[in-house]
Symmetry: C2
Subunit: 426 residues, 2 copies
Amino acid sequence: MTARRSERDDVAATMERLGRDARTAARSLVLASSDAKNAALKAAAAAVRAASSEILDANARDVAEAKSGGATSAFLDRLALDAKRVESIAKSVEDVSTLPDPVGQADKAWTQPNGLRFERVRVPLGVIGIIFESRPNVTADAGALCLKSGNAAILRAGSESFHSSSAIAACLAEGLRAAGLLEAAIQLVPTKDRAAVGAMLAMQGVIDVIVPRGGKSLIARVQAESRVPVIAHLDGLCHTYVDGTADLAMARQVTLNAKMRRTGVCGATETLLVDRRCAATHLKPILDDLTATGCEIRGCAETRALDPRARPASEADWSAEYLDAILSVRIVGGVEEAIDHIRRYGSQHTDAIVTEDKATAERFLQQIDSAIVLWNASTQFADGGEFGFGAEIGISTGKLHARGPVGAEHLTSWKYVVRGTGQTRP
Amino acid sequence: MTARRSERDDVAATMERLGRDARTAARSLVLASSDAKNAALKAAAAAVRAASSEILDANARDVAEAKSGGATSAFLDRLALDAKRVESIAKSVEDVSTLPDPVGQADKAWTQPNGLRFERVRVPLGVIGIIFESRPNVTADAGALCLKSGNAAILRAGSESFHSSSAIAACLAEGLRAAGLLEAAIQLVPTKDRAAVGAMLAMQGVIDVIVPRGGKSLIARVQAESRVPVIAHLDGLCHTYVDGTADLAMARQVTLNAKMRRTGVCGATETLLVDRRCAATHLKPILDDLTATGCEIRGCAETRALDPRARPASEADWSAEYLDAILSVRIVGGVEEAIDHIRRYGSQHTDAIVTEDKATAERFLQQIDSAIVLWNASTQFADGGEFGFGAEIGISTGKLHARGPVGAEHLTSWKYVVRGTGQTRP
């Protein structure tokens, strides 16, 4: 009991120190030049490349521990690094250095009748806490994006990737040192103790925002417990609706891509809605493509009548985020019914319509209140890179602060710079 | 005990109903036209004017109860309405109807190399909870701004203004009805029971954001307890720095206005910093103006040596938000010392520099990380109306989601509308 209490005290003291150092770093980062930040990123990328064998050794320790702990092969695949993956970590950090710096950008400017000139200028948020699971590359990606946007980062790696993350974090520190920036700009929580997560969630006023990256149970815990604001990704129950006027070839390729390009990503389509007007002509060819690539179909009664390959869909299927090669399919009576279905079962993440009719498309785009709505394009475009953001720290399913892909710009706030000539308020 | 539990149950049931109705209203408001929202606002303004005597009667009840409860005269002044104040409530609601509707505005648009066209379109946040104290006009102002931005509002009025707020809320409901919108778009919590505040703070997933408006103890309670994200206004410890190159006449008028125009507002200057280079010429005339209008001066030793009218300032004075006719004054050795002082003691709200030197001004504007930084203008411009936002729900001292004056636009989120021609992701 005493031992446990003293461990808890140690974690608390460690987190307090990390928080203090992060705030100091954040204050100095507000004034860091783009050149200094980019130099740190380039030096960090070089350090990752130079330390490739140390990183792989550390990773081997993590993998061995995870194996002996009985980790699944999917888990091990996320955890394991090889030379190619280490190079891709270095490359990602380097790529962030080439992105535009959001800090100092004036995104609005106007003059009031009294002559006061207003500018809204981007500034860093402060200190960002990232809590992630077994992917070691998140250490570098998240640290780089926080630095780019002028924020100090406190990174809490999953305990299974602790050695890999520590080795990568050492490279980031080397980059910061080389550029004359404070090493505390990117700190990895130096303990596997899970109490550190609880401590981070309670660091109101020290950490400005928490970004959890991982499975649903992690995100649920963070959202339930956190006293710090959270930017998080919840469900991605995405729909593709094939309207009666859809071009068949386009409907086939968009649906196939939306479901099967990668089934485990949040932008993968989970439910296909097909307009009754084109079901007789479009449904079978679309399902041909899907079944040919190994997708299981779960259809409504009408779908099954048209295509006996479909298994029966239950009510639960309309709410299922499979993240797998399974698709639920429902025949609907036009765009209004499709909108009703998506409103009822969707998760306001990403939804698409395939149609040749502009008015129908615009109705769908306006009425579906999802982070991303697409016309004649695959739901798998739900990705910061595809948006042109260069890198993303995740996709936000909340509406506060940032919605959709979260890039460097979304890790900033603003200040108003007002220039006058002696104006006083009447 | 049983009675108390049943009261608590009543409050819980009431809040649950309010929450459910608000979410239904929010869903329909996403699609409400600007015309319908503006018609509701105009009809509500007309209803306030028509119900002026009912509102004044209700207010008289509130005032009588507050008086018998021993309220201070400042409190009664905030609470009491007269015909002029009722007209100004109606006018404010009407004014909101003339503001541009942020919903549906595309504030960014771009095309990716693959031909996908992206638009970032403003959408409502959802349900906004406003918790406020004794000013009955907040009922109308907050309700109107939420409606304008397409959000459902749950308004919790201070128990002392319950009757006034109820009478005003009835007028808002009349406006909504007249325009064919759901009355639940703006709901006043129909009980004085303080348990309703706790219930609101726990309505995660039902209320999207809470905006507290009132004294520091209310805001502190909301920030400490809320499970719902909060947009709040904390301290306004604002500074005016008079640089060595400042024009004397400008420094006098800006400082006088910044301190004395209204001493009780958050943008009022609390500390004057004067560059040693101009202290001999500028300090006395500036303090002349201030003392002539009844301002008490608390100065550092150097200030007192130059002007014996100043009382001694203690360390606590540099951290004091007086909200009164008191000013702390310190002589500093140039802009760097001024910046250091503001970083140490300021509240990152609003800070101004008076100088004729552009380079010095830009250094100050860049290095002070406050929501509003001004050059040659009064800190009292910290106000949404003065920014051209038309109306504000408050000033945010946080950096997440919105910083500085919070207008209709800041009560929105966005969605990405993506238009393609059959694009699939490689």
